[in-house]
């Protein structure tokens, strides 16, 4: 029960994240979301009695909850962009839409076959898919480059959650490699965001349309 609660609340965090245009709040919501995922991993490790998941949880906590969130917060401060005005969908509507997506994710995950290890895990599929969909929605509805990174990270969280609950986690070295890649990706995009700010004096990616046919 607690497991379902943890998992779903991470998805809810993501939904809430969509609701605000404040970049700082977004990052904080993301941070909470990863924290919940780290906790889920711990619980999962306890239930499954697999020690490698403890390590994973630790890494998630250090890398994502602390590292990436702090990095992004620092980045926001440096760049000085506080609000994301959004693209075609107002933030509240986007949030409502992501709630709908959550329901949709529930429907989808019911269609998929389940490993019948733990009843609670079925919520993992829902939350995972919901996170992925919300991440994509976030990327599609936000203007700022930094929000796109956040959306991507949310999506990645969803994938991790899905992997954890539906396939009882990938081999450790694969997970580690994935973390490394994601970490590097965020770092590189961070640097790029700096350059974008420096060259264009904004980080609004909807205005980056000079390359087209």
């Amino acid at each position: 029960m607690i497991f379902t609660l943890l998992i779903l609340s991470s998805a809810i965090m993501a939904v809430l994240m969509v609701g605000t245009g404040q970049v700082r709040s977004n990052i904080i919501f993301y941070s909470f979301q990863t924290l919940l995922i780290a906790l889920t991993t711990c619980v999962f490790a306890y239930v499954e009695n697999e020690h490698k998941h403890y390590i994973l949880a630790l890494v998630i906590f250090i890398v994502k909850t602390m590292g990436l969130s702090l990095f992004l917060l620092w980045l926001t401060k440096r760049i000085g962009t506080a609000r994301d005005t959004g693209t075609f969908l107002p933030h509240p509507l986007a949030m409502h839409l992501s709630v709908l997506l959550l329901i949709f994710a529930q429907i989808l995950s019911c269609q998929l076959p389940h490993l019948s290890k733990l009843e609670d895990f079925s919520a993992g599929g829902t939350a995972g898919i919901s996170l992925i969909l919300t991440g994509i929605l976030f990327m599609l509805t936000r203007r700022l480059a930094i929000s796109q990174v956040l959306g991507f990270l949310t999506m990645e969280n969803g994938i991790f959650l899905f992997a954890l609950t539906q396939a009882s986690g990938m081999p450790l070295f694969v997970e580690m490699g994935i973390f490394l890649d994601v970490f590097v990706a965020v770092m590189i995009s961070g640097l790029l965001i700096f350059r974008i700010k420096h060259s264009f004096e904004h980080i609004d990616v909807t205005l980056l349309t000079s390359l087209k046919d």
């Binding site: 991507f152 396939a167 009882s168 990938m170 070295f173 350059r195």
Partner: protein, 480 residues
């Protein structure tokens, strides 16, 4: 030294080279370092892999994660060759850029070499990884490292292109990760206790995998790696990145990176081979390829950038390779990749020279090339012919084999569409090239004489012609 040691050192060399190149502060030194390490790596790999390619063995086993099949061996050699030639070309390219005053900091060039070698390493690991997970990690690593190459010139356009490249590919690759997880999950339903990501196991147990999950996994992998390889309509990053990267980097992206992504698709497709959804997955690949070929040829009609032109022609060739993959023919896939890569490197190198001469990459601003630089004009023309599968270039043979295979497998429609699109592409490319070659000379600057040319584009064109006359089924029959 055992073969294994040599093999490992071939992998170690780019890493070492990258470190050295990054540490040097003079571009010429780090350039030499990069060139030497890449060619050395090629030599070592050839020493290890050539006997293997000729032998009866099907795989070369190095560790549980590093296994080299014949196809991957061939691709490995091709990739290292492409990177080595591109790096060699880039040495002169950057010298010319320097003279032109476009470049200010040598350190950037050092970083370029360093990133290229790391990129090479990532690509090499794509081909030898025996595991869906490591495959994914390597592919993601290639896009992260090549982002540095695209970013190289630090102009607004380059930054925009890099951002699009990074985000779109990352999202795409994230889908591929999800697909990987689906496949991993599918293996846990009775096929393998606790699941497995190993290709060998998955291929062997293909029939036992959970079909729905496998199918979903394949679709996600197709979309994910398809984004990386530029399948229509997921190609959106590709023309931007290719046109904004410096010419040698574009050559590397087009001639090796796309092969990596396609190789990943090929590997995933092989897992589905024996399962109940194998045929529909084959079809999906096939038609994705056909649509890509058709769309790319239409994209070519109205183009404004020289390198964008070649980018779209890469997309077209990716489509052809997808068709080969969809038809399940590894030799033709490799052959097409080989021919395309060789010609594309030559074309991008020539394009780099031309852009340096004319100072622009807009097609409408380039004219009178025949008068300015007949050599580059001729290379451009020959390359343009080669890339559309015109005899007597190697691409013709591979495309012809592809066509005949599709006819043999009763996909006459595919053959027809490919023929039509190749015709359109040919006409479009020749049209653009023709407009560049003739006309009035519009350049005021007298920087034409100071530019140094290398023989690499010419050599590659000659190799392409030679390939037309040496390809034989026996040479390719073994590649699987």
């Amino acid at each position: 030294m055992s073969l294994e040691t040599i093999f490992w050192s071939a992998f170690l060399l780019p890493l070492l080279g990258a470190l050295c190149a990054g540490l040097f502060s003079r571009s010429s030194l780090s350039g030499i370092c990069a060139i030497v390490s890449s060619w050395m790596s090629l030599i070592l790999l050839t020493y290890v892999l050539l006997p293997f390619l000729q032998s009866d063995k099907t795989v070369l086993f190095f560790s549980s994660l590093i296994v080299c099949s014949k196809l991957s061996a061939a691709f490995l050699l091709l990739t290292v060759l492409v990177v080595a030639t591109a790096l060699t070309q880039s040495y002169l390219f950057f010298q010319n850029e320097f003279k032109d005053g476009k470049l200010h900091q040598q350190k950037h060039i050092c970083w370029f070499y360093s990133f290229s070698l790391l990129f090479l390493l990532a690509m090499m690991s794509v081909f030898v990884s025996e595991n869906l997970g490591t495959l994914w990690i390597s592919v993601e690593a290639t896009s992260l490292l090549s982002a540095g190459l695209v970013y190289f010139s630090r102009t607004n356009h380059a930054i925009e292109a890099t951002w699009k490249y990074l985000i779109i590919c990352s999202v795409g690759i994230a889908f591929a990760l999800l697909g990987t997880i689906f496949i991993f999950a599918s293996s846990q339903y009775g096929a393998v206790e606790g699941g497995s990501l190993s290709f060998a196991i998955l291929e062997a147990k293909s029939a036992l995998l959970q079909p729905l999950l496998l199918k979903l996994g394949f679709i996600f992998c197709l979309v994910g790696y398809g984004t990386k390889s530029g399948v229509f309509p997921l190609h959106s990053w590709l023309p931007d990145a290719h046109s904004e990267a410096p010419a040698p980097a574009s050559a590397m992206l087009s001639a090796s990176l796309l092969n990596c992504a396609l190789f990943a698709i090929f590997k995933v497709l092989k897992i589905t081979n024996l399962s109940s959804c194998g045929i529909s997955c084959d079809r999906a690949c096939l038609w994705a390829g056909v649509i890509t070929v058709l769309a790319a040829s239409f994209f070519l009609i109205k183009q404004h950038g020289l390198k964008r032109l070649w980018a779209y022609s890469s997309i077209e060739n990716v489509g052809l390779m997808m068709v080969a993959i969809g038809l399940g023919s590894a030799p033709i896939f490799f052959l097409q990749a080989l021919n395309h890569s060789i010609v594309k490197v030559s074309l991008f190198c020539t394009a780099g020279n031309i852009i340096q001469i004319c100072g622009t990459k807009e097609l409408s601003h380039i004219s009178g090339l025949l008068k300015i630089s007949p050599l580059n004009a001729a290379l451009l023309l020959l390359g343009g012919l080669a890339v559309t599968g015109t005899p007597p270039f190697g691409t013709f043979i591979s495309e012809w084999m592809l066509l005949s295979l599709s006819v043999e497998r009763h996909f006459a429609v595919v053959a027809v569409i490919i023929l039509v699109s190749l015709t359109i592409a040919f006409i479009a490319i020749i049209y653009h090239i023709g407009r560049m070659l003739i006309g009035n000379v519009r350049i005021e600057k007298t920087n034409i004489t100071s530019i140094k040319y290398s023989a690499i584009p010419l050599l590659l064109i000659i190799v392409s012609v030679a390939l037309c006359f040496v390809i034989r089924p026996e040479l390719l029959g073994e590649i699987k």
